[in-house]
């Protein structure tokens, strides 16, 4: 069973995405901030992280950097409400496998997760 970590400072988002992927056979963890995200990453070593880019405190790009420093094989998908080319470029440079802009389709999110789990890093 794949381990998936969802990082978003909104409870609703965490709950919803958790339910969605749990129903699809994932073992899902959620984190509301950067510190939580990093400690869960170290403890559970998830294969995949869904990371919101805009968060209070440590923002998505910083978390991305820390996770990659810890283990570069963890696949990270960035989720963003803004279509910001610069942030997107930065995220890919830091090693994100995908950058999804909201409003998104869940089909696409599911597909992206599935596809990228197969990619060898």
């Amino acid at each position: 069973m794949y381990k998936l970590l969802v990082v978003d400072d909104e409870h609703d988002v965490c709950d919803f995405v958790k339910t969605f992927f749990k129903e699809r056979g994932f073992h899902v963890f959620t984190a509301l901030n950067g510190d939580e995200a990093l400690s869960i990453t170290k403890r559970e070593r998830p294969e995949m992280v869904l990371l919101d880019i805009k968060m209070k405190g440590m923002d998505g790009l910083a978390i991305l950097k820390h996770i990659k420093e810890f283990d570069r094989t963890i696949r990270i998908i960035m989720i963003s409400a803004l279509n910001d080319q610069e942030k997107m470029y930065e995220a890919y440079k830091l090693g994100a496998v995908e950058y999804i802009t909201k409003p998104l389709t869940l089909d696409y999110l599911e597909e992206a997760v599935g596809k990228n789990l197969k990619v060898k890093l």
């Binding site: 909104e10 609703d12 988002v13 709950d15 919803f16 995405v17 339910t19 969605f20 409400a81 909201k102 409003p103 998104l104 389709t105 869940l106 999110l109």
Partner: protein
């Protein structure tokens, strides 16, 4: 299951709705308060006729919502709080991204869909089923029912005879599952599908009654009307803003062009360098003292016409030969006759510009004298336009207080004396006294005048 038992909850819903409509939330106009109060006596339970009247009142009120999102949030909140449904959501068409996106979702925890996580494009199966003609699975009320989709999938004929339909139903089921939808109620305006009201299961597991479905359809249609209205108003406001911006921009270009022209005149003649700018500053100082004078009211935009006229009063000098303009010494009578043409040349230059036709007239007459002894037309008194009379005074003051090739500049006090002496003959007494007042207040040589131009 008895429909009787539901009547109280309907009354409660209506009451709640009425209350919400009246507490002025979400941009609701208070106009309907009296209407609602008179239509719904509080001392008896709401009857079915009240319900009809209520819907009518509600739809009238909805039209007053300025932002469609407010209306949608209120509808979702109403249904969620009153009908005890696991999940309620509204999808709305956004033309910018050509997709239906989630605007609001409410429900028991874990079921609420966060905004930004649903996006259906125009050809997704769940949208298609509403937009294509003769959809078999849409009931006569227009509602898409999850049960009907399941029935279609369970029907063996579907799979064997219409495999395409089977796939489509499967795709619709998948999307309804994602939305936890039991009912999908379309919101149409004319023939356009503006949005979809998504309703999940009732918490108590009961099915929706016909009456409830009827309510949803009416609500959805009224909401569609309100949304269409709000969108129309929004796009209209946007257009108005755009036009305003365009106007401001054009106006700025126009003003700057006028000022550039003025600067070009100044640059040609080293002896009058800065003259135009100073005269314009003096004119604005005088104008301050003339506030309330009836003649000022006669102008469509006095300050603007004054600024441009003052800036361009010498524009006609471009038509005067250089040797005359920069002559070192007194002018011969012939040369002076030549110089005098500059006010007519100025008018000729500016006249064809529609926006400057008022200005052209002021430029033509800025060398007229109050007693009729000026040029080019020998106008007298108030036949000379007011702005021309103002420029006449300020122009003379600046000429006297500046060096000329043939004479030294005079002190301001001396120039003022000269203005007073010629008040009523060369100059309009009203303008001269306004100039003196402005001078006393320090508005003429107070250093402010140089910045006046920059504010344009």
């Amino acid at each position: 299951m008895s429909t009787h038992k539901k009547v109280p909850s309907w009354g409660k819903l209506q009451g709640w709705f009425v209350e919400k409509l009246m507490d002025h939330q979400g941009g609701i106009s208070p106009v309907n308060n009296t209407l609602l109060n008179s239509e719904f006596p509080k001392d008896r339970p709401l009857q079915k006729q009240d319900y009809q009247a209520f819907l009518e009142a509600a739809s009238r009120t909805m039209i007053r919502f300025k932002k469609p999102e407010h209306l949608i949030k209120m509808i979702v909140r109403t249904i969620d709080e009153q009908l005890k449904i696991m999940h309620t959501a509204v999808l709305l068409y956004k033309s910018e991204i050509a997709s239906y996106i989630l605007i609001d979702s409410k429900g028991t925890s874990g079921l609420k869909i966060p905004v930004g996580f649903v996006r259906l494009n125009g050809d997704s199966p769940l949208i298609n089923i509403f937009t294509e003609k003769d959809s078999f699975f849409i009931s006569e009320t227009g509602i898409l029912n999850y049960d009907d989709i399941i029935c279609g999938l369970r029907n063996r004929d579907t799979l064997e005879l219409q495999p395409d339909l089977y796939d489509k139903l499967l795709a619709i089921k998948k999307q309804m599952d994602l939305l936890k939808a039991v009912l999908c109620v379309p919101c149409y305006f004319k023939k356009d599908l503006l949005g979809i009201l998504v309703l999940g299961e009732k918490i108590n597991g009961e099915k929706f009654s016909r009456e409830e479905m009827g309510f949803f359809v009416t609500l959805a249609n009224d909401a569609a009307m309100a949304i269409a209205n709000a969108q129309l108003i929004e796009s209209l406001q946007q257009r108005v803003e755009e036009i305003k911006e365009l106007y401001v921009k054009e106006h700025r270009i126009f003003m700057n062009t006028a000022l550039a022209l003025a600067a070009a005149i100044d640059a040609r003649d080293p002896y009058t360098y800065g003259h135009t700018e100073r005269v314009t500053g003096y004119c604005l100082a005088v104008a301050k003292e003339l506030v309330g004078v009836p003649e000022v009211q006669g102008y469509k935009n006095f300050m603007e016409t004054l600024t441009i006229s003052a800036s361009l009063h010498d524009v006609g000098k471009v038509g005067i030969p250089d040797y005359i303009l920069s002559k070192n010494g007194r002018l011969t009578p012939e040369e002076f006759e030549e110089i005098k043409k500059h006010s007519i040349i100025g008018e000729t230059i500016l006249g064809p510009i529609k926006e400057l036709s008022d200005v052209a007239k002021e430029v033509r007459h800025h060398q007229e004298c109050y007693d009729g002894s000026g040029y080019p037309d020998g106008l007298a008194g108030n036949d000379i336009p007011l702005i021309s009379r103002i420029i006449s005074v300020t122009d003379a003051f600046d000429a006297m207080t500046s060096n000329r090739p043939y004479r030294k500049k005079r002190a301001p006090a001396e120039a003022l004396k000269e203005l007073k002496a010629k008040s009523g003959t060369q100059f309009d007494p009203l303008v001269v006294s306004a100039f003196l007042l402005a001078y006393q207040k320090g508005n003429v040589l107070g250093g402010q005048e140089s910045s006046v131009l920059q504010s344009y």
